[in-house]
């Protein structure tokens, strides 16, 4: 149910409500609304990703892997992993002695991911799990590395999700959150806003015949906590040595935190 269009509305304002892009909706509804968005974009997700970011998302993801310290034998959780770009790379590096779990709340995204990875010959050490980031169905201290790329902003209760990630991470393990953030330069910020609110939904309409979903994506980017706020949120649930790195002028930021 949509009760407000106030862009400043946050989930902290009200226990029962949260934002869905710029709209404020019942918390219970958001999960399904996000699900609908990704159900509808799943088939065209990869091509849209390339188009929208002009291919740069691949470099942001490579940087995430370079910062992960991954090596053979590691157990990695690619959370909100969608169509599995990170999983494919991790799977090759962790090898037969390691394991990668691609987890996503949406079965349509998981299915596209599984088919894609199979076509790429990525098999053997990858498991596919449908799961909500807020309640991860894994035992405590399971993973050496957790990544969540462009996923956290879609999660209804981000604090709960971060706490859940902390729980399933092994001591010594690290979390990497790759997410759209706030450009550091005001001019870039303006240009980026113009791009995401005017051009992005149009590209979405043209290529995926779905302007609404891409309007939501643009709004959800704007509503996502900026760099310092997310860093404090990670610290609040227990992460230590938290840092972040702005990429492409802060359009995207990579946050990192350890569990000791």
């Amino acid at each position: 149910m949509i009760v407000s269009n106030n862009p400043q509305a946050t989930e902290q304002n009200n226990q029962e409500q949260t934002h869905f892009g710029f709209k404020t909706v019942d918390k219970t509804q958001k999960v399904n609304m996000v699900k609908d968005v990704f159900q509808s974009v799943a088939a065209k997700y990869d091509i849209m990703n390339d188009l929208m970011s002009m291919g740069i998302h691949r470099l942001w993801k490579r940087y995430t892997i370079d910062c992960s310290g991954v090596r053979a034998g590691h157990k990695v959780l690619d959370l909100a992993g969608g169509t599995g770009d990170l999983t494919a790379k991790f799977s090759r590096i962790v090898g037969e002695s390691g394991q990668v779990v691609l987890a996503d709340i949406n079965d349509a995204m998981l299915k596209v991911g599984r088919d894609k990875l199979r076509d790429l010959g990525v098999v053997g050490n990858v498991d596919y799990v449908q799961a909500n980031a807020e309640e991860l169905p894994f035992p405590d201290n399971t993973f050496d590395i957790i990544t969540i790329a462009f996923g956290l902003r879609n999660v209804t209760d981000k604090d709960k999700a971060l706490a859940s990630m902390y729980r399933v991470l092994k001591p010594g393990g690290r979390l990497l959150v790759l997410e759209f953030s706030k450009p550091t330069n005001e001019l870039l910020n303006k240009a980026y806003d113009a791009y995401s609110f005017h051009l992005l939904p149009k590209i979405g309409q043209l290529v995926a015949n779905d302007a609404d979903s891409y309007q939501y994506l643009a709004e959800s980017i704007r509503m996502h906590p900026e760099q310092e706020v997310l860093k404090s949120m990670m610290e609040a649930v227990g992460f230590e040595q938290t840092t972040y790195q702005n990429l492409t002028g802060g359009i995207v930021a990579l946050h990192r935190g350890f569990k000791f």
């Binding site: 090596r71 090898g95 840092t243």
Partner: protein
């Protein structure tokens, strides 16, 4: 834009493409499966790490990720030392002269070097896959003859000029030499034109 990742991504793609073109490379790559090799070229801003599986995954070693364990093998060297690695009998001399630092399992470095050195790609066959056999054969024939003629031409010119310049007396050229030179240029040009025409047809066919 993460520039280092752009470079590593391009390199990774090119390397894997080359490996795919050599049917024997898969078996050689299998020997390295699960291992990794870090290469620090002193003139380059970032060290690279090669992870071996069914293909090569290339990463950039960033300080944010460097708390990870030591690689299976690490080599550090200058750009000028790189070609010298071809001759494996030189390795200990290079290490002694501190031109090369090698830490860890030397087998990884050697197997990787062999993999690249022994790449055997049948370019004519690759071209035949996108055109037809006759066309590919002819194009390669033209390319080879251009290569040979260019080499001949360069060699002849070098000899003529060496002779002229070392001989005492004027550096003048007689009519016969000049005619020969012009004839060679014309021959070479028509061979190059033929090759260019073939490549243009190929490009057109590929686009269509």
């Amino acid at each position: 834009m993460p520039f280092a990742q752009l470079v590593s991504s391009g390199l990774e793609r090119a390397l894997n493409k080359l490996l795919q073109l050599d049917p024997d490379s898969a078996a050689k790559l299998r020997k390295l499966k699960g291992r990794n090799l870090q290469v620090r070229v002193r003139e380059l801003p970032w060290p690279l790490i090669f992870h071996f599986s069914d293909e090569i995954s290339l990463g950039v070693v960033v300080s944010e990720g460097s708390e990870s364990a030591r690689p299976d093998c690490l080599i550090e060297l200058n750009l000028e030392t790189l070609p010298l690695l071809q001759d494996s009998s030189q390795l200990s001399a290079l290490i002694q002269q501190q031109k090369l630092i090698l830490i860890g399992d030397i087998y990884v470095a050697q197997s990787f070097s062999n993999l690249i050195k022994e790449l055997d790609i049948d370019w004519e066959e690759q071209l035949a896959k996108v055109t037809n056999d006759v066309f590919a054969h002819q194009t390669f024939h033209s390319a080879k003859s251009v290569m040979l003629q260019s080499q001949d031409f360069i060699q002849q010119s070098r000899e003529i000029w060496a002779e002229r310049l070392t001989k005492e007396g004027a550096v003048g050229i007689n009519q016969q030499t000049l005619d020969q030179f012009s004839e060679d240029v014309v021959k070479l040009r028509s061979a190059t034109d033929r090759l260019a025409a073939r490549l243009a047809i190929l490009e057109k066919a590929h686009k269509a």
